[in-house]
């Protein structure tokens, strides 16, 4: 009979229509309570009907491997020995392997001997060019550059804000652990400890053991805090000494940065670039 096909199709539409309401009623209380449980089920393979995520009030947490514009890993600010130190050694592999070539690195050099030091003087990523492929993070031998989960990068001015410099790119290791605990732990296991691979090498030379991966990183951090609070003399000394050292280093770094800026201006002037 003409029209039966259409009616058959419309029954599918009605099923979809009803399914959604049935599910809504079933999860009504839990949704209001925002336990998150209903979300897990309704956005999974067990769900029926439709479920709308109320972005931006609700945001789906992205899976660990999600990749967006990269960031640089630095030591935690409360690290007892190396607060805020770069993990990047400015080896340049990320900038070479970057398909759209959006990474610019100024290799650090010793101000006196002019020899390269394993620390970037400056680091830029043009987020307009970045294609979020993740090669930089994949090929970095030091686990120093990682893909971020923060995808809300819109800004009102694209001319000034979209080249991220080192200050904007740097995020502490605990942040990386926070967004990707499994991956961070796997990588640490490959390195042989929670520390940077160069630090682990140094420690090995001195005969010190690296912090084992069997202790979860938050506990490692908690230990620093308790050590500092209990006023263990050695640790306290380190904590006190660290800021002073940091200050002088910061000043030196600032100086180097200013020098670099001056060099850049000179070069631009030479090339006739405004």
């Amino acid at each position: 009979m003409y029209g039966t096909g259409i009616l058959k199709g419309l029954s599918v539409t009605i099923k979809h229509f009803i399914d959604t309401y049935v599910e809504d009623i079933k999860y009504l209380g839990r949704r209001v309570l925002k336990t998150g449980e209903s979300f897990q089920e309704r956005q999974g393979v067990a769900s029926r009907g439709l479920y709308t995520v109320q972005y931006p009030e609700e945001k789906i947490a992205v899976p660990e491997r999600f990749r967006f514009v990269p960031f640089l890993v630095v030591e935690d600010p409360d690290h007892p020995e190396r607060p805020g130190d770069d993990w990047c050694t400015s080896c340049g592999i990320c900038s070479k392997v970057c398909p759209p070539q959006c990474i610019w690195i100024v290799r650090g050099e010793d101000p006196v001997t002019k020899r390269p030091i394993p620390q970037p003087e400056a680091f830029f990523i043009d987020i307009d060019i970045c294609m979020n492929c993740g090669f930089c993070a994949e090929f970095c031998p030091f686990d120093a550059i990682k893909m971020d989960h923060d995808y809300e990068l819109a800004s009102y001015d694209r001319t000034g804000n979209h080249i991220y410099d080192k200050a904007k790119l740097s995020k502490p290791f605990s942040y990386w652990y926070g967004i990707a605990p499994t991956t961070a732990t796997e990588e640490a296991a490959d390195r042989g400890g929670w520390e940077h691979s160069d630090v682990i090498k140094d420690m090995k030379k001195k005969g010190q053991p690296a912090t084992p991966v069997s202790i979860p990183y938050p506990e490692v951090r908690a230990e620093w805090a308790t050590a500092a609070a209990s006023g263990a003399p050695a640790a306290a000394a380190v904590v006190e000494a660290a800021p002073a050292e940091d200050e002088s280093e910061k000043a030196a770094r600032l100086e180097r940065r200013l020098e670099a800026l001056a060099r850049k201006r000179a070069r631009d002037a030479r090339l006739g670039i405004q």
Partner: protein, 624 residues
Amino acid sequence: MVDQAILPAALDSGDVQTAINHLKEMYPGKVQDDTRQGYSGVIIDRSVLVEAATAIRDKLGFNYLSSVTGVDYLGFGDHLEVVYHAYRITGGPALVFKAQTPRDNAEVPSLIEVYPGADLQEREAYDLMGIRFHGHPNLKRILLWEGFNGHPLRKDWKEAYYEQEHKPFDSRWPAGYARRAEELTVFGKNVQYPADLDLSRLSDTTESQLYSGMGLGVDVQDEVTSEGIKTDRLVVNLGPHHPSTHGVFRMVVELNGETVENLEPVMGYLHRNHEQIGERNAWNHNMPFTDRLDYISGMSNNLGYALAVEQLLAHGARYTPPTYRAEVIRVLMVELTRIVNHMWAIGFLLNDLGAFFTPALYAISERERILDFFEATAGSRMMPNYMRFQGVARDIPERIRSTANQLNDRVRDFNTMDYLTELINERIPGAIDELDRYLSDNEIIKARTIGVGYLPKDMAIAYSAAGPVLRASGVPYDVRRAEPYSIYPELDFDVAVRYNGDIYDRYLIRLDEMRESVRILKQVLPRLEATKGESVFAGNKAIYMPRVPLGEAYGRVENPKGELGFYVISQGDPKGPQNPWRYHVRAPSFINLTALGQMSKGHKVADIVAILGSIDIVLGETDR
């Protein structure tokens, strides 16, 4: 000419080498083996190209021309070369034949009479490489505009903002001070005006050339139909900005009343010279760029490129093929991609038929779950960048898990294998059946699609149509069976085929193919379980700039939209910069459009929208 009598009766079988030997007998002195390192096939003197191609098609049986492209050998003989890959529609490897021409006044005879499928591809080679195809009836630029200066795939052509011949650029490290590209001037070294140029008299002839030969220019051409109705012949532009053209794509149609008499596809609005970017890139730089070709099925694009480069790597001494688990994961990803793509294609075909978005949303709701899996595995929903030469980037995760953090709070946590099992055994088959129930018997759909956009079998082959378009016309040709790759030989599945060659069959074949994909996926699941814990990458993770041995390779995969081929050449100093000398994409969406005009003739305007939808194009790939 060749004496027909001396030819054996049946040559259209036997292996490629036999075919080449016959070809050499037929044209003594005009057909030479390609003896360059890592190359295969024959070089045919261009004076006998058309006759030789006719013989290749009719006598040797290579009746399906997969790809036509040009290569610029500047510095390696200083000639241009046109490369043809012809296959037998019954399966088997390619007969690769080439024709060479000097760079100045580059010209080879057009093969459009022999293989009509060469039409758009020859226009592309003319546009980007500057090779004139003698005898082509419509040799105009296709991706670029008529006034464009130069041919961008020639090796001496420099793009705007040109920085350096090959990536990685020296300016990035060790003294890499960032500057926005906009701040550089485009009108620097790269733009040259002829001395006698008068800008005020500059005009663009693209449009007038396009309309020449169409009805335009005859203001009122009174025509009286058999019913005695006066009609006009009218040129109408459908697109470029039209929702039913699936992107920025334009069809110039010549109408008689409401009946289409002539149709010309106009494309290139999304052209970014993908191939030239690919030649500036290093080998692995191209992997994420392939995601952006057919952006619905990024995973399969990855696989095609990986297969092509692996063919070259296999020439090298230290090459280990991908591990078994890597191959299993590749097939898993590719078949899930096929389902994603066909769901999308059916949904949007219904949009084109006027069923606005309800079918599309029902179709793509299951796609979301597949994309969740892609996101958890590869890191991105549509731009996976997942395959690597000799394997895949990472193993599939233990759990599809997200962690609440300061950025996002709504978390999920599933066991990956349970998730996949549920998806493959229950949800996807359910969704396919539901679509079938929902649409297949619908009288309106049947009235709109049955008998519309007919493409006969012989024409589908001649026009080099691929994928569902070819198979819906009764040709059971599927690269997975015709020239198997990965672990397809050991998998049990059928090549879906339909025989009516109209829109309805192109819809039905997509349902069939999804069912076959589910069949494959059900066989993949136990293999995934069995190989758990094995390595997924056979190469050396520390190598970030792979060295690729000299030679050419054509890697092709059965993409959801048709046959996707990558023609890559490694040339030059083995110790020098490591980048492809030639990187050509045989884009199924692009080549399937060759038959669009043929399919549309005699139909109404509303029908050509549906016909275009049934081909299932994606402009990222068409325009490249």
